[in-house]
Structures are given as structure tokens and as C-alpha cells.
Amino acid sequence: MKPRHKRFAMITTGVAALGIAAVLVLNAFEKNLVFFFTPSQVAANEAPQGRTFRIGGLVEPGSVKRQPDGVTVQFVVTDTAQTIPVLYRGALPDLFREGKGVVTQGRLGPDGMFHASEVLAKHDENYMPPEAAEALKQAHAKGAQAAQTLVTNPPTGK
């Protein structure tokens, strides 16, 4: 074995060992590296108790209610399995929309209401012109309609 082969072997082993160490450390920290908890995790008591944390999910369509004072907003965060009602006083980001992603930081009250101190919008990785989005929406609506027709008029065999 030439010296340079030896050095190459040593470096490869070193980097591989580091990689394995990193994987193990990250695995151990996995629970602490989450940026937000989903409503299902909160329901399963996996979220920290008695201190602020973040929850993330979708803003449930039709759930956003502005209170008469104009700055307090109430909405529901859902991961389609569980839901958490959120109360927030302050300005919402531009991309905050019903049916879209949201991450909010705050404290869970004893009443089950999440009192948020910060609301962030989480957008997805899809970029398309408005016309394409409109076409998609229409196709989706048509598909949903078709699905509904199937459900409401099942082929009755009775």
C-alpha cells in the first residue's frame, strides 16, 4: 500500500465515521429538532406542557372569524385528523389563507384554546401562473362534483 492509498483510506474511514456519528446524533435529537407539532401530536400529549411551542397544519376552510375589535382573529388549525382552535391578536402574514399551511407559536390554554403570539404562513413548493391555478381549481371542483354524484346516487343493488 502506497502512502497516498493509506491516506485515502484513512480519510474515507474518517468521513464515514463522522457520517455515522452525525446520523446517530441526529436520530437521538430527532424529537427536539421539530419546528412545530401537528394537532395529532398535541392530542397525543407529545407537545411540551406549560411552555410555549409551535403548532403547524392547515387553516381549516371557513373557520377564520374576526372579532369586532378588528385585530383579534380566531381560526382552527387542522391536520385533517385533529383540530386545535387558535386565538391571535395581531397582523396576519399576506399568505395566511384558509386551506393553506400555517405555523403558529403560543401557549395551550386549559380550555384547549391555543393562545398564539406569532402566526407564520407556510406556503408549498408549487409555483404556477394564476390561470393554471384557476384551471386546477375548476378541474378539482368538477372532480369533487363527480365524486359527490357517485356518492349520492350509488348504484343500488337492493
Binding site: R4, R7, F8, I11, G14, V15, L18, G19, A22, L26, E30, L33, V34, F35, F36, F37, T38, G56, L92, P93, D94, L95, F96, K100, V103, E118, V119, L120, A121, K122, H123, D124, E125, N126, Y127, M128, P129, P130, E131, A132, A133, E134
Partner: protein, 254 residues
């Protein structure tokens, strides 16, 4: 016999592994890469600002993607290339490899800084915040500190060969961070969205948007090569200043 002919016909690339022969080659290559960078960036920005459509969700704010994503790609790619040269220097004990690694670091740091900065500018209008400590953003910030650490460590050691070796160990250690940055959005809950472009699936964006991003990425690539070659020429002159050929070269300049 044919093998013999083939070797004679092909370029002897190892010839360019010596600083003395690489120095004039780099000078010849720089204008080409520089011109390609300028052309591609102008074309990419034109596509990005005038051809690509508005985004349905984010409106015009998304257009910063044409700088942000290519810079972020380059920040990771340059690090891998830098670590490769640093590792090659350790293994083969070649002088030029270490110089290449040192020449790449500032460009990598610049790309990382641009990615972080444009990300902050993009985050404020869309997410509602300049910065969050999620896995993607934090690991990219660590990348910036790795570049800074590499440069500071090399600057702190007077003997260039020892500086190269110490830097190489740091650079190779930091490689671990690259897959963490790339896969952070898959492994953990992050505020940062997932990748729009991957090798496995079709890009989840309109074709003209994708084209603008790719052209910009190529432009950044060409720029980084040109900048690294310019920088490596300076490093070669600095480190070989006692040799005859540098004295001769400087003499012809006078």
C-alpha cells in the same frame, strides 16, 4: 499498441496539476467563463422578470427565487467541490489542490450569504418573518460559519502547507452538513417548503419559471468558476513568489 497511440493523442491533464502550468491556463479560461456568466445571468434575469408568469399564490414576491435557489444550490455544490480539492490535497500531497480549495471558499461563502439574505427578504412578505430557527435555515447558517471557519483557520496558520492540511480536515468534517441541509425539509417539520426541483420527479413549477432558474444557476456556476480561477492565480503568485518562473512572469509585466 492502440492504447499507446491514444495516450499520445490525448491531452496530458496531469501536466496542469503544477501551479506553474496551471497559472497561464487559468488566465486563458477566465474570460470565457466570465463571458458565459454574464450572458447566462442576463438571459436568466430576463426570463425571470419578463417571461416567467406571476405566481398564483405569492404574486410577484416569488421572483426572488431566481436568485435565491441558484445561490443556495451553489452554496452546497461549491462546498462539496472545495472539500473534494481539500481531500485530494491531503491524499496526493499536491500543492495546487489546496490552492483550489482556498480559492473556492470565498465564492462559497458569498453564495451562502446571498441565499440567506434573499431568503430573509423572501420570508418577510410570504411567511411573515425574516428568520426562524428551523432545520433548513439553521443548517444553511452553519454552512456559512463552516466557510468562515475554513478561511479563518487557513489565515491563522502561517505555513501554507500546514494551513492547507488543517483546513482540509475542517472542510471534510463539514461535508456531513451538506446532506443535512438538503434533506432537512424532508426529515423534519420545517417552515421552509420542500424542494420544487428534484431528480426524482418533474419540477412542481411552470416551465418558464423552471427555465429561468436553471439558466440563472448555470450563470452562477460559470461566475463561481471564473472567480475561483482568478483567485487561484493570486494564490499561486503569492505562494510561489520565490520561484524563478514567478520572477520571470513579474519581470515581463514590468
Amino acid at each position: 499498441m492502440t492504447g499507446h497511440n491514444w495516450t499520445r493523442a490525448s491531452v496530458n491533464w496531469f501536466k496542469y496539476s503544477s501551479p506553474q502550468t496551471f497559472f497561464p491556463l487559468a488566465a486563458k479560461l477566465v474570460p470565457w467563463f466570465g463571458a458565459a456568466a454574464a450572458l447566462l445571468c442576463v438571459a436568466g434575469l430576463y426570463i425571470g422578470f419578463f417571461v416567467a408568469p406571476t405566481d398564483a399564490q405569492q404574486g410577484e414576491a416569488y421572483r426572488i427565487i431566481f436568485i435565491h435557489v441558484p445561490a443556495a444550490w451553489m452554496s452546497m455544490f461549491i462546498y462539496v467541490v472545495m472539500a473534494f480539492w481539500a481531500g485530494a490535497g491531503l491524499v496526493f500531497n499536491t500543492r495546487l489542490s489546496g490552492m483550489m480549495a482556498s480559492a473556492l471558499a470565498p465564492s462559497g461563502a458569498l453564495m451562502t450569504f446571498i441565499a440567506l439574505w434573499t431568503g430573509a427578504l423572501w420570508g418577510k412578505p410570504t411567511w411573515g418573518t425574516w428568520w426562524v430557527w428551523d432545520a433548513r435555515l439553521t443548517s444553511e447558517l452553519i454552512l456559512l460559519f463552516l466557510y468562515f471557519g475554513f478561511m479563518a483557520l487557513q489565515a491563522a496558520i502561517d505555513n501554507p502547507r500546514r494551513a492547507d492540511k488543517a483546513g482540509a480536515v475542517l472542510a471534510l468534517t463539514g461535508v456531513v452538513n451538506i446532506p443535512i441541509i438538503y434533506f432537512s425539509v424532508q426529515w423534519w417539520n420545517t417552515l421552509h417548503q420542500g424542494a420544487s426541483v428534484s431528480l426524482k420527479s418533474a419540477p412542481s413549477m411552470a416551465a418558464t419559471m423552471f427555465a429561468g432558474m436553471i439558466v440563472m444557476a448555470l450563470g452562477f456556476w460559470m461566475y463561481s468558476i471564473a472567480a475561483a480561477l482568478l483567485r487561484v492565480r493570486c494564490i499561486i503568485l503569492e505562494r510561489e513568489h520565490r520561484s524563478d518562473w514567478v520572477a520571470q512572469h513579474m519581470g515581463t509585466l514590468k
